[in-house]
């Protein structure tokens, strides 16, 4: 199979980290609640007269903490393309889809996708010697397979309090000290960096949702590229439908969307690797 195809599917299948994750800051869309002038009138502003030197250490020098971004030209272009893709394709389709399928059903579909990615989480938890998390992941898989109708529900979390432990190869590589490398904006997927992109391709190989090496790995669900794309598209739309409007809020919030997405992604990944 040609490598470009593999790559594109890898992107589609791992959409999870794009808008959805950076969107955490923004959670969802809505009309604004209040008028600022009124808000300001009611409040006194706390001011700190002390000096801020000790805080400067925490946040670091803005030039030193800046993300390594030698491809900013391409990255800005791709951010723009993704923006158009989201606005004109993903968002309208997901909005329609959300009208047809109730949220509970969409959450179940989402649970199922998470459930099926169990091999990726297990492998990466083990590679980082997170033994307890690996055991919990395995327990989750068993419990949710049997009592969660094959992963449609998540009784392991709701009834037993076993949380999912998301780990991916990018985090594992980071755990072993591999630097993140230059920031890269991937098509559809959005923010990434060299290390995480390599990780993405690796994870995709062991993902049951992607047909690579289907002859050798018995748990692969799709058997050909057509099925890969179908599955990836369903996941993308389903995922987007659970985060509708969040991206618009980010856009509204950011003074500079490109650098906002870049820094939020980088901070978030660094934090995840630390944990």
């Amino acid at each position: 199979m040609n490598i470009r195809k593999i790559f594109i599917i890898a992107l589609l299948l791992n959409y999870t980290n794009t808008f959805a994750d950076t969107a955490i800051e923004n959670n969802s869309t809505a009309t604004s609640i209040t008028s600022l002038s009124d808000v300001n009138a009611t409040s006194e502003i706390n001011t700190s007269t002390g000096n801020t030197t000790s805080f400067e250490d925490e946040f670091g020098n803005v030039n030193e903490t800046a993300v390594f971004d030698p491809f900013s030209g391409y990255n800005k272009f791709m951010t723009n393309v993704n923006d158009k893709f989201y606005k004109n394709i993903a968002d309208p389709i997901a909005t329609g889809y959300a009208k047809i399928l109730p949220e509970k059903a969409r959450i179940s579909v989402n649970n199922l996708f998470h459930h099926l990615r169990f091999p990726i989480r297990l492998a990466n938890n083990l590679l980082q010697f997170k033994i307890q998390n690996s055991a919990e992941e395995t327990g989750r898989f068993v419990v949710n397979t049997i009592f969660g109708l094959g992963g449609l529900f998540d009784p392991a979390k709701t009834d037993l309090g076993w949380e999912r432990h998301d780990e991916d190869l990018g985090q594992t590589l980071g755990f072993y000290g591999l630097p993140e490398g230059p920031y890269i904006v991937l098509p559809i997927l959005g923010s990434s960096n060299l290390r995480d992109t390599v990780g993405l391709v690796g994870d995709t190989y062991i993902s049951p949702l992607y047909s690579a090496d289907a002859d050798d790995i018995c748990y692969k669900i799709p058997q050909n590229t057509g099925q890969d794309i179908l599955i990836a598209s369903v996941e993308l739309i389903n995922k987007t439908s659970l985060h509708l409007g969040e991206y618009d809020l980010i856009k509204k919030d950011a003074l500079d969307l490109y650098s906002f997405l870049r820094d939020a992604y980088t901070q978030q990944r660094r934090q995840k690797i630390k944990e």
Binding site: N27, T29, T34, T42, V62, F260
Partner: protein
């Protein structure tokens, strides 16, 4: 004698707690924040207009935020020191308004998610972090509130909020630093003014 001592202690305690301005003590951070967040969630469920709910929410949260410090940090002390007092004042006003608005925008999508309190942990340089988790539809989001001992007065105030590992102040710092490479400070002020999500005198 003992009685007088006791009386004095009580009086002293009363004096401390009756200081009119709000002061958040270290051991009160978690319970006070819990009640404030609960209050915010209750207000959200009310059937009032957005303006009224927004005012109430902001009034609840204002006392625990060190907005002045946040504005300064968002810009970085270096830039802050290089602008005029008038610009500082204008920037603080615009930035704080923006911060509040963006907080309120996000609340609107609150949908009965559960908030879990993970306790107050020591953070960098004697500062403290209140760790919480919000159980969302898809993921569990960590929200951490970072407190500092304001002017070492024993009044703890929030100077940063981390959402899923992303510091609000840090993202603003990077954005402002990036913008300052291309624009003058006055141009940034203009942008902040224009980006104001709501015009004044609406209602």
């Amino acid at each position: 004698m003992i009685k007088i001592n006791k009386l004095l202690k009580i009086l002293l305690l009363l004096a401390i707690f009756s200081i009119p301005s709000f002061a958040l003590r270290q051991n009160e951070i978690e319970p006070v924040m819990q009640s404030k967040i609960n209050k915010v969630l209750t207000v959200l469920k009310k059937k009032e207009s957005n303006t009224i709910r927004g005012q109430e929410i902001i009034r609840t949260l204002d006392p625990v935020f060190d907005y002045g410090l946040m504005a300064k940090l968002a810009l970085s002390s270096k830039t802050w020191g290089s602008i005029t007092p008038a610009q500082q004042k204008e920037f603080s006003r615009l930035f704080i308004a923006r911060l509040k608005q963006s907080y309120l925008d996000k609340l609107d999508l609150y949908n009965n998610q559960k908030v879990i309190y993970k306790g107050v942990k020591p953070y960098l340089k004697g500062r403290l972090q209140l760790q919480t988790e919000v159980i969302g539809k898809d993921e569990t989001y960590k929200i951490n509130y970072n407190f500092h001992n304001s002017n070492n007065s024993g009044n703890w105030l929030i100077y940063d909020v981390e959402l899923a590992g992303v510091s609000i102040i840090q993202t603003y710092r990077q954005q402002f630093a990036g913008l300052l490479k291309e624009k003058s400070f006055n141009e940034i002020l203009t942008q902040l003014r224009e980006n104001q999500p709501l015009k004044t005198k609406q209602s």
